[in-house]
Symmetry: C2
Subunit: 301 residues, 2 copies
DNA sequence: GGACCCGATAGGCATTGCCTATCACGACAG
DNA sequence: CTGTCGTGATAGGCAATGCCTATCGGGTCC
């Protein structure tokens, strides 16, 4: 049995006239005659009593027609919901963001995203890289903003902007007198975040170290780390977007000689179907951050 | 969109594996692949995210799938109801019967009908011929038992049995001494039913009259008429099936010379679809009344 | 009796649904 | 690192289906 047949059935039951029902269905009278008879044969039930005067629903038809109406209504509901879902730029969009990026990037891009994509309900989700990748692969996230390269053919990424690192020094630090600091000069007293933060590895790599000082120290957030530096416990590398927060904490920032930086990428499953949403989100963010790298690298924030 | 497609959708959503879903649907994997993609294109919505590892329902799919399930359930309900309705010998069967026949025929045939057609719920409906015909044409009845010929190409009939008339005489009537009474001999003092009863016309015609005695008399039921005759107010013709009731009322019955009779017919709309039910009902009734005409005509009841 | 209305039937054409065979691609093992 | 396996996508061909126009048949109404 076909869904079309049910619509035909409803039309005939409503009009009690095959010609007019056919017209209402947009088909010819003979077609409706044939299809109706086929439906009756398929069901094994005579649905209408035909005479030259009238086409009258049988008792059996009366018992079936409510179900037919309900089925057609459900299918129409499917079509209606599908239509409202057609816009890939609408609906929930679960976006993972790493913790060293979220507090500083989100305030910058949230309003532009809302303005450019008013129907897209972006739900930020803040966790460390590995957790985000797991959730991404598990369909718990639609995309993620990461600062690392991603591997595997199941994921695709798009670079959005480069985020330069800056040397973060306590006000009393000897290097404060320098206009530019070489990355390696920080190696001796650098403080880094706890394991799992990509910023930890990036900072250590930039200054040429492979193990961290104060390995007993488990600093879970960049804001804690900044306060530690401000209090004189050591130095660190801060990502450019956190420059304002660092200065607010009383930290002195200096550009780096080799202009160490990390690239922030939008990452998604290669099979994720809402390409338009990915592209739009990526474009809004990179557009908002255009020219940021140059300004930040030179210490102008 | 097709109903089949919804079943495919449900299968893929359940198995999250196109090959196995295809197997469950009894089709090949390529067919399911193609149909699923067509459905997605028709809805304008990506329903599943495919990777080499898994086929995962999208958020949009989750919103649609409940409607799909409901639609399929409704259609399955249609099929189930249709299956239960397939037997034309089952269900309500509204049978009109004229008043001069119903009280005497129904007790005879009701049990045989119930035994032969246990699933057929026969609902007797007692009214005069013209009313029954109107209801029959208006689909309020499925068939009727009448004692008149029917006209019009919209109705079809089948003779079931012949019902002889008998002369009904008060015990003191002069004709009681005769073994056989000629129809015309009753013309002088015959009593008949009120207008609208076919028996009225049949009785008058049999005895050669064209107007009735006691035209102010409106006797609405045969049982009243029989009591009138028993009380000596006149004679009448009784249909054979009412012979027992007439004798119980104290009436003397005599066979008629010309064996006047009426034919009881089953009548239905030519377009009425439940032919099997008509035939079965007719056959049970005529079988039960087989041989009745001969016995009744000779006064043996 | 002829025109008209209505549903049924016939024949032909384009679309569709399905099949088998094959491809493309990633995973996994030797 | 290469061959094999598993999985979904693609291609080509065939039969069934749905639809059309033209026509029929039966009944009604001037």
């Amino acid at each position: 049995m076909n869904l079309r047949d049910l619509r035909y059935l409803l039309a005939v039951a409503e009009h009690e006239h095959i010609g007019r029902a056919a017209e209402a269905c947009g088909i010819s009278q003979p077609t409706l005659s044939v299809q109706l008879r086929k439906l009756e044969e398929a069901l094994g039930v005579t649905l209408f009593e035909r005479s030259s005067k009238a086409v009258t629903p049988t008792a059996a038809c009366g018992l079936l027609i409510d179900h037919a109406r309900a089925a057609v209504a459900e299918v129409d509901a499917i079509l209606a919901v599908a239509r409202s879902l057609q816009d890939p730029l609408a609906g929930r969009f679960r976006l993972g963001i790493i913790p060293t990026l979220a507090p500083y990037l989100l305030p910058l891009v949230f309003a532009p995203l809302r303005d450019a994509l008013p129907a897209l309900e972006i739900e930020p989700w803040e966790e460390q890289t590995e957790v985000l990748l797991k959730r991404l692969r598990g369909h718990e996230l639609d995309a993620a903003l990461l600062a690392t390269d991603v591997d595997g053919p199941d994921l695709t990424s798009r670079p959005l902007f480069a985020e330069p690192f800056l040397a973060a020094l306590p006000p009393e630090h000897p290097l404060v007198g320098r206009a530019v600091v070489a990355e390696a000069e920080l190696a001796s007293d650098i403080l880094v975040l706890a394991d799992g933060h990509c910023l930890r590895d990036q900072a250590l790599e930039a200054c040429g170290r492979h193990g961290a000082l104060g390995s007993t120290l488990r600093v879970a957030s960049l804001s804690t780390l900044l306060n530690m530096v401000a209090a004189g416990y050591g130095t660190t590398l801060v990502p450019g977007l956190a420059a304002g927060a660092a200065q607010d904490a009383g930290i002195v920032l200096r550009p780096l000689a080799c202009q160490a930086r990390r690239t922030v990428r939008l990452v998604w499953r290669a099979s994720f179907p809402r390409r338009a949403a990915l592209q739009a989100v990526g474009t809004v963010i990179s557009g908002r951050l255009r020219g940021f790298a140059e300004g930040a690298a030179s210490g102008i924030v």
